[in-house]
């Protein structure tokens, strides 16, 4: 396309919509997708995102109702409002998908992510790591004389902030689960 010098945003010259999706204001949405717990269902959901060019920022999946064979997939995605609507409609069309909830628009919701941080160091850095962990309410789940593994739960932003602080004092690696989310209040 670049050889033909098509300006981004020039959808008026195209039978397809060549608008730059970033020009239209991207929104981040958290979707809860309740699916039948059957083989291949995650592949269907992920294949939809990759096949149609949608973003996945984070994705978690686990069985939530053993007797009812239900799993809950939490997807954080970004897109223009029309793309988000299209994602929800496309998800709803998958046969083993039972419900699609957009937690970002359906009232208030809580989002949590769990992360494990390995921080190595000696002396003052070690003390500082423990002090910061205390501020962030992170727990020590493993320790050697030169390292800690911290467990922290919170919003993705809180975990980002913790990572930023740990990096200069010896962050070795981290593992994050991705976001799990529920709506607030009594209704399911």
């Amino acid at each position: 396309m670049s050889a033909l010098k098509i300006k981004k945003g020039s959808s008026s010259h195209s039978a397809y919509d060549l608008r730059d999706p970033h020009a239209e204001g991207l929104e981040k949405h958290t979707l809860a997708v309740i699916v039948a717990n059957e083989a291949g269902v995650l592949a269907r959901v992920i294949g939809l995102f990759s096949g149609r060019g949608y973003n996945i920022e984070s994705l978690t999946v686990a069985e939530v109702d053993h007797a009812g064979h239900r799993s809950r997939i939490t997807v954080v995605t970004t897109g223009t409002p029309s793309v988000i609507e299209q994602i929800k409609a496309q998800l709803g069309r998958i046969v083993p998908v039972h419900e699609v909830h957009d937690l970002t628009v359906e009232g208030k919701s809580v989002e949590r992510e769990l992360a494990l941080f390995k921080v190595a160091g000696e002396g003052n850095n070690r003390v500082e790591a423990l002090r910061l962990a205390d501020i962030f309410r992170a727990n020590v789940v493993d320790s050697t004389l030169e390292s800690f593994v911290f467990e922290i739960t919170g919003t993705p932003e809180k975990i980002d902030a913790f990572a930023d602080l740990m990096r200069p004092i010896g962050l070795v690696e981290m593992a994050r689960t991705g976001v799990a989310a529920l709506s607030r209040g009594t209704r399911g």
């Binding site: 291949g40 269907r44 294949g47 083993p96």
Partner: protein, 584 residues
């Protein structure tokens, strides 16, 4: 519940689903099922010559009957050969059920002989698919498969059955006990939205109905309701390629097909309307042209059973989610109950404007008495066959397909089989076999180009074996006509590989398979050739040698709007600019 082997269960389930014909090809992983087919006479099996042919034949069967088409193929290459047909059916919303054999469950994942990850490969090109690992579940899954294929927006489904599951015994679940309740798309439209549509119809001054394949998928009842609604309102109606026949071509309000090669008046009316009522169409890029300039001054209503079709391409003012038949029934009842009237003076003006556009005679072409023009060939085919109520037309893909859509008239739904969304060359001939299987005494004509036709020519043996009198009307220009047209328009007449070199002698080819072959090249002999084709009781190839460099007009060039159509004999230099040329 009866206990039986998985293989027997497959045949039992197909019978319980009312299946009469299966198109298939045997192989190692489906031998137990073929053994069961051998031992019964209720279901007819049609042996195709390639699995792609089986799927297109099933599509032809499904489109011409409204019932799901069924295929049975083996694992590995059998399944991968079915992929094009599955994708075609997905794009055009055609209900088909493909049963594939699979290596035994204990060998899955071992790269066994003729193993392929069939459910993985076909996941994006089916509406849903299943790998059945337990014989007890097999009957249930096959019934679910039919339910999903037919329900909501129809489409292809696939059931992958490992060989050990076919051999093992299990309990057969009959259709009434199958777990189908979880898939129940909404069919009734929102009454408020329907009321809003009726109000808009009452107020419209320049309205148009834009209908698509969804009307045909909704069934003959929906087509009757559409006709009644169009006649009640007196509004003009145009249709996509997929929707031809839902409203009769001889109807008073018919405008002809719209879109890239649609009629001038239909496209101009779409551009200039103040109310567009989309009934079961999906704003495909072949319809909209440049989106920013698509029907800029109209309010839009969209009736569709698939929520993902709403606002996908074009933002609409009134979406109505539901089945076309149900929604039209409610709308018509409301129309009558309200004693609704349209704005007659404004409508008369609108029809007068349409009359002006019609005077352009956009399908006009320069005829010749030396060489057969493809348009002329189709005009004569239409003239000599249009009185046959049992006429079914299939097409391949390309210029001939567009000319067929322009020059042939369809009075009833399910009589027009063409590959719309995917544009699958090689579709038409096997589809004509499927149509003829469903309608043994009907006149089934495949309007073809020589290049498309060669893509699935192996099915000649199938037609011979089952005595299917399919008529292959090949418009032979020795070119990949549509590719050549685009190369002329935007690649400086550099005709890169768009020649049909080394063509067979079609008459001898026909004779080699026991068919009749007719070649015609003089316009004066055309009628006689068509009549000879019609009179012959058996399969025929008509090798109709036509003008080699004829272009298909009218045409909305890529990246242009509806009101920037090119008409026949137009100056085509620079018709598509650099920005349009990246589009297909």
């Amino acid at each position: 519940m009866k206990t039986m082997t998985g293989a027997k269960m497959v045949v039992e389930a197909l019978k319980d689903q009312g299946v009469e014909v299966v198109f298939g090809y045997p192989g190692g992983a489906v031998l137990p099922i073929y053994d069961e087919i051998f031992q019964q006479n209720e279901i007819r099996h049609v042996l195709v010559r390639h699995e792609q042919g089986a799927v297109h034949a099933a599509e032809g069967y499904a489109r011409s009957t409204g019932k799901p088409g069924v295929c049975l193929v083996t694992s590995g290459p059998g399944a991968t050969n079915a992929v094009t047909g599955l994708t075609d059916a997905l794009m055009d919303s055609i209900p088909i059920v493909v049963l594939t054999g699979q290596v035994p469950t204990f060998m899955i994942g071992s790269d066994a002989f003729q193993e392929a990850d069939t459910v993985g490969i076909t996941r994006p090109c089916t509406k849903h698919n299943w790998l059945v690992k337990d014989t007890d579940a097999l009957g249930d899954v096959i019934h679910q498969a039919f339910h999903v294929a037919k329900g909501g927006r129809p489409g292809p489904v696939l059931v992958d059955i490992p060989k050990d599951v076919q051999f093992a015994s299990g309990k057969y679940v009959p259709p009434a006990k199958a777990q189908t309740a979880h898939y129940a798309p909404r069919v009734k439209g929102d009454p408020e939205a329907i009321l809003r549509m009726v109000e808009m119809i009452e107020e419209a001054e320049k309205p148009i109905f834009y209908t698509g394949g969804g009307v045909i998928n909704s069934g003959p009842g929906a087509c009757r309701l559409l006709r009644e609604f169009v006649d009640a309102t007196g509004f003009p109606i145009t249709s996509t390629l997929m929707g031809l026949g839902a409203y009769p071509a001889s109807g008073r309000h018919w405008m002809g097909m719209l879109g890239m090669h649609g009629l001038y008046e239909a496209n101009l009316a779409m551009h200039g309307c103040d109310l567009m009522i989309n009934v079961g169409a999906r704003f495909d890029d072949r319809i909209t042209g440049r989106i920013a300039d698509f029907s800029p001054r109209s309010e839009k209503v969209h009736i569709d059973i698939d929520p993902s079709s709403i606002n996908k391409v074009i933002h609409v003012d009134v979406p109505i989610l539901g089945d076309v038949g149900h929604v039209l029934e409610e709308a018509l009842a409301l129309w009558k109950a309200r004693g609704s009237k349209t704005r007659a003076p404004a409508l008369a003006k609108w029809w007068a404007q349409i009359g002006e556009w019609r005077k352009v005679e956009c399908l006009r072409y320069r005829n010749s008495d030396k060489v057969i023009k493809p348009q002329y060939a189709l005009e004569r085919l239409e003239a000599l066959t249009k009185d046959r109520k049992d006429r079914f037309i299939c097409t391949e893909v390309g210029q001939h397909q567009m000319w067929a859509a322009q020059f042939l008239g369809f009075e009833e739904p399910n009589h027009w089989m063409t590959s719309g969304g995917l544009g699958t060359m090689g579709y038409g001939f096997p589809a004509s076999i499927g149509v003829q299987m469903a309608h043994p005494d009907a006149l089934v004509i495949n309007v073809a180009g020589e290049a498309s036709w060669l893509m699935n020519m192996q099915e000649m043996g199938t037609a011979t074996q089952y005595r299917l009198p399919v008529k292959q009307f090949i418009l032979n220009n020795e070119r990949l006509g549509m590719v050549r047209q685009w190369q002329q328009l935007l690649h400086g007449e550099r005709y890169s590989h768009s020649w049909s070199e080394a063509l067979p002698d079609f008459v001898k080819l026909a004779e080699a398979f026991g068919w009749k072959g007719i070649q015609v090249k003089d316009p004066a002999d055309l009628d006689a050739a068509i009549l000879e084709m019609l009179a012959y009781d058996g399969p025929v190839i008509v090798d109709c040698l036509v003008e080699k460099h004829e272009n298909c007009f009218p045409m909305i060039p890529s990246g242009k709007a509806h009101n920037e159509m090119l008409l026949g004999e137009a100056e085509t230099d620079g018709a598509i600019d650099a920005k349009g040329s990246v589009l297909v």
